[in-house]
Amino acid sequence: MSEITEKEIERYENLLREMWTASAKYLGILSVNLLVERVVWEVSLEYQEIELLQYDQDGISCARIAARLKENPELPVGDMFMKFITRYVAILARLIGRERTEEIKKRLNEEFASIPFDSREE
């Protein structure tokens, strides 16, 4: 049984929403959606379930991933989300500069203390 609970999915969802909002401020919604689409594609090469992530101009939702987790509790969602975040932040740093990315990371680290951010690729 996976240790990732619905609450943790909710935490990841909140985190992704914060990242989405913070990035949209600098990049605009169009670029942020393209960035999410790109990272979803890249992560889906390893974890197809990331394709269940819903995103549009209003933001991000993990509802379908949470539903999938109920059907398949073995889903490595923790690793999947970490890969998503790492790759997202790595590209974001190129777009808005390391300094601004650090600011976003710092703020998110304060709110989501248990999730380590790193813009370096694994």
């Binding site: 990049l27 605009g28 169009l30 670029s31 393209l34 960035l35 689409e37 790109r38 594609w41 890249e42 889906s44 090469l45 390893e46 974890y47 590209i91 740093a93 190129r94 777009l95 500069g97 390391r98």
Partner: protein, 471 residues
């Protein structure tokens, strides 16, 4: 294999597939990436390997160095013997255009005496394994490539929409650089716009992009001549680009090539697009990027043209100052700021004395010189944050944000004296000046009218002086 972005595949899932195949075929399978580094583990324990390194991973330096050197010199396929005497079948994976990695097939048991027939059976089994694995990997590569192409096409679609929906140059520049960095994970992306006989870097993104922004590259520079001598992109190394201003501090992955696309439209060269991408392009990738560059060229051309028209629509041709319409728009914004932040704001209304008589006596060309020189004097007498404009005929308006009436008086007197002492052709020129400071609930018309009234008073009191409009 993770080094090849397009062959990104879950190692866990791959290992399961590889282990099943190894079990069915009763052979040991091992896969290396294109640099000879290990990708997957041995599928089955090899007796001798177990003795050497406990089986499942290559920890023995001797083995690692053997594989590296054997695979580096591998053409297509070969039978090689490892340092511990095991005969292995080695294959290059992928196609000639897209190299993926290497496959090594080994027997499951160590046999000292192997007959020719047994060896042929093993080689034939290894060939079948190679065919299967190569086909699967090529299919994964193809699938991943299709995903990348879909991303490219989506972005091209967005850029094409831009041509009809977004006309702000800054937004177009951002969208072009952002989408290229996102799609290709580009290390660096540069857009240069043509300004006369040079290319000016209008936007650059990437880790070391900042020093490039605003740099100018003359079109007569040999590198620019090379880029604009054709419609296809030029592949240049960072070393070749070093002579261009701004590239001294730029760093990219060693050996990376920079693609520079000249941006052409029916009107000629618009600018250039430079990109450092880690993804090796195939023919389709090249074509997609070329289509992207073509759309980018048209979008940039439209946005540049609209920006120029907007600037021309708000600029006075003779003096280069803002015209009346632009001045009123700026004044509206400044008044709003004054209300919001409570900062002072003053306006100077300047009228050249007896300008009609000067024009009548010495002609309109001489009159134009007076207007040009007066504008120059005003420009040299104000701060960069102050805004000057030609309000009409021989009237100028100067907006002084954050300046109270005392500050405005100092500026007005400085301008008046400079005009009075400037050696204009034919005769001395003077100006009358009215000053008004913004009040609560002021409108553009009220503020300008008070400055105008003060100027009128200055005229009435003998010209060549300033008057304050006191509430």
């Amino acid at each position: 294999m993770p080094t090849n972005l397009l062959l990104s595949v879950s190692v866990k899932y791959w290992q399961e597939f590889q282990d099943t195949l190894a079990k069915v075929m009763d052979a040991n399978i091992y896969i290396f990436d294109i640099n000879g580094g290990s990708f997957s583990r041995f599928s089955l324990p090899v007796e001798l390997c177990q003795e050497v390194n406990k089986g499942r991973e290559l920890r023995n330096e001797k083995c690692i160095s053997f594989y590296k050197s054997a695979l580096a010199s591998l053409e297509d396929k070969d039978i090689v013997t490892c340092p511990y005497g095991i005969k292995l079948c080695a294959y290059r994976l992928g196609s000639y255009a897209q190299k993926i990695g290497f496959l090594v097939v080994a027997p499951t048991r160590l046999r000292t005496q192997v007959g020719l027939e047994e060896e042929n059976t093993f080689v034939s089994k290894a060939n079948s394994i190679y065919q299967t694995i190569n086909e699967v990997l090529k299919a994964i590569l193809e699938k991943n490539l299709l995903g990348l192409r879909r991303l490219e096409l989506n972005s091209i679609y967005e850029i094409s929409r831009l041509m009809t929906s977004i006309v702000e140059l800054d937004k177009v520049l951002d969208l072009i650089t952002n989408s290229l960095i996102i799609i290709y994970k580009a290390e660096l992306c540069v857009v240069g716009l043509r300004e006369g006989d040079k290319i000016k870097v209008a936007q650059a993104k990437g880790e070391h992009a900042q020093p490039l922004i605003g740099r100018e590259w003359p079109l007569v520079h040999p590198l620019m001549e090379q880029v604009f001598s054709k419609v296809e992109p030029s592949f240049l190394s960072l070393e070749e680009l070093r002579p261009l201003p701004g590239f001294a501090g730029v760093e990219v992955t060693p050996g990376a090539e920079i693609l520079i696309y000249p941006l052409w439209t029916a009107l000629g060269a618009v600018g250039l697009l430079g990109i450092v991408a880690p993804v090796s392009m195939d023919d389709n990738g090249d074509k997609n990027l070329q289509i992207y560059a073509n759309f980018a060229a048209v979008a940039l051309s439209n946005a540049t043209l609209i920006r120029r028209l907007e600037r021309e629509a708000e600029t006075d041709v003779l003096t280069g100052f803002f015209n009346k319409r632009a001045l009123r728009n700026i004044l509206a914004n400044e008044l709003e700021r004054t209300v919001r932040y409570g900062t002072p704001l003053s306006v100077i209304f300047l009228d050249i004395d007896d300008f009609k008589a000067y024009n009548d006596a010495f002609g309109h060309l001489s009159g134009d010189v007076v207007l040009e020189k007066t504008a120059e004097i005003i420009r040299n007498s104000i701060r960069t944050v102050d805004i000057a404009g030609r309000y009409g005929g021989e009237e100028f308006v100067i907006i002084l944000p954050g300046t109270n009436k005392e500050g405005a008086v100092r500026v007005a007197e400085r301008i008046r004296k400079s005009i009075e002492t400037f050696p204009f052709p034919h005769r001395r020129i003077t100006a009358s000046i009215g000053i008004a400071s913004a009040q609560k609930d002021d409108s553009i018309d009220l503020l300008l009218a008070r400055a105008d009234q003060a100027c009128y008073r200055a005229k009435k009191e003998g010209k060549n002086r300033f008057c304050l409009n006191l509430p």
